[in-house]
Symmetry: C2
Amino acid sequence: MTILGASGALGLGLALRLGQAGVDVVVGSRDPERGRETARRLAERVPAASFEGDGNGPAAERSEMVLVCVPFRNQSETYTNLKEHLREGQIVVDATVPLAAAVSGRATRMVGVWQGSAAQQAAEMVPDGVRVVSALHTVSASTLADLDAPLDEDVLVCGDRRADKRAVAALIARVPGLRPVDCGRLEQARIAESLTALLIGVNARYKTHAGVRLTGLPDELWPER
Amino acid sequence: MTILGASGALGLGLALRLGQAGVDVVVGSRDPERGRETARRLAERVPAASFEGDGNGPAAERSEMVLVCVPFRNQSETYTNLKEHLREGQIVVDATVPLAAAVSGRATRMVGVWQGSAAQQAAEMVPDGVRVVSALHTVSASTLADLDAPLDEDVLVCGDRRADKRAVAALIARVPGLRPVDCGRLEQARIAESLTALLIGVNARYKTHAGVRLTGLPDELWPER
C-alpha cells in the first residue's frame, strides 16, 4: 500500500506500524528524494519491513490502496496533483482533519468544509471510479511512532461502499490493538474528523495521547453478507 | 437534583439510575400532573429512591442542578419557559442533541445550530448567572432504563467553568459504570453532541446500544487545583 504524507507524524507512525505488521509500504512525498529518505528512516526503525519511497504521484500509482495523511492546509493541492496518477478501482483512505490550526486557529476547533468534511472534499476531487474511505484520524501519531507503546483503541471507518470499508478494515486490523468499526456513510466522516479536535483538547488537559473506543459492540464487526 | 424531560427515554433512564444511586430526584414535565405521574412510575421501579414530580418551572426551582433532557425540537421553548424560574448560581446540564430528526431528517444527521451547539443555545437563553454544562448525550437511554444492564462508558463533559464541570462530574460519577471526562469548553459540546448521531448509526448497524470510551486517560480525571 501507499502512504502519502509519510514524513508527517501520523503518516510516519502508520507506516511504521503497518510495516511492522508485514505490509509492504510505499511512502510518497512532494519531493521524490524526501520520499526515498523517509523510506530509509523507516527501514532503520523496522529493518524487517519493506519500505520504498517516491514522489506522491508515482507512489500513488504503485498501490491499490492509497492512504492520504497530509495536513488539511495541503489536502486540496495534494488531490489536485494526484488527478493524473489515480485510476479507477483504487481506494483512497483519507485521514485529513480540517483543524482550525490550518488557518492559524486553535487545534481544538474545526474549520467548516463546504462539502461537509475533508473526506467528502477528497471524494469530490478524485477521478471517477476512485473510492474514498475516511479513517485513522483519531489514532495518536506519537503512540503509533513509539513501537513499544501498546495500542488499544478503535478506528472509525466511514465510506459509501461496504466492500471498500471492509478492505480498509482488513488493513487496519493487521496492526495489533487497532479495531476498525463501521461508522456509516462517508458523510459521517465529519463527526469522526471533529472528534480529533476534541481529543487534542483532552490530550492537552490530561497530558496524554487519548484514543477512542466504542463500547457495547458485537465481536464480529465485519460480517460477510 | 431536577430532571426536565424525565418522561422521555433519556430523562427517565437517568432518573432511574440517579435515584438508584441515592440521589433525590425531582422530575419536571410541561404538565405538572404528568410530572407527578412520572415520579410515581419511577418510584415503582426503584422504591428505595426519592422521586417527586411537578411542572417544569417549579421543578427547576427546587434544585441547584437542573438536567435538561428534552428533544431538540422543544429545547428553545423549554428554556424560554424556564426564564422566570431559573436563578443565579444554578447549574443547568444540557443533554440536548440537535439531530436532524427534529426537522423530519435522519437521526444520523445533525441540524446546524447558529450558536454552534444546543448547549451554547442553552447558554444564550438562561438568565444571567446560570451556568450551563453539556453532558450525557452519548449514554444509551435503553441501557440506562434497564437497571440490570451494566454501564461501562464515559460521559463527555463540556463547560466554561471547571468548578461547574466538577460538580456535574461528581453527580455523574455516583452512577456505577459512568466515568465523566473533562472535554473542554462549552463550544466543544458540538462535537460531543454530534457523536450521538454517529452512535445512532452504529447502533442500527450493529443492533446494539454503543457508548463511548476515551482510552489512555490518567486515573485521576478531576484533580483539585
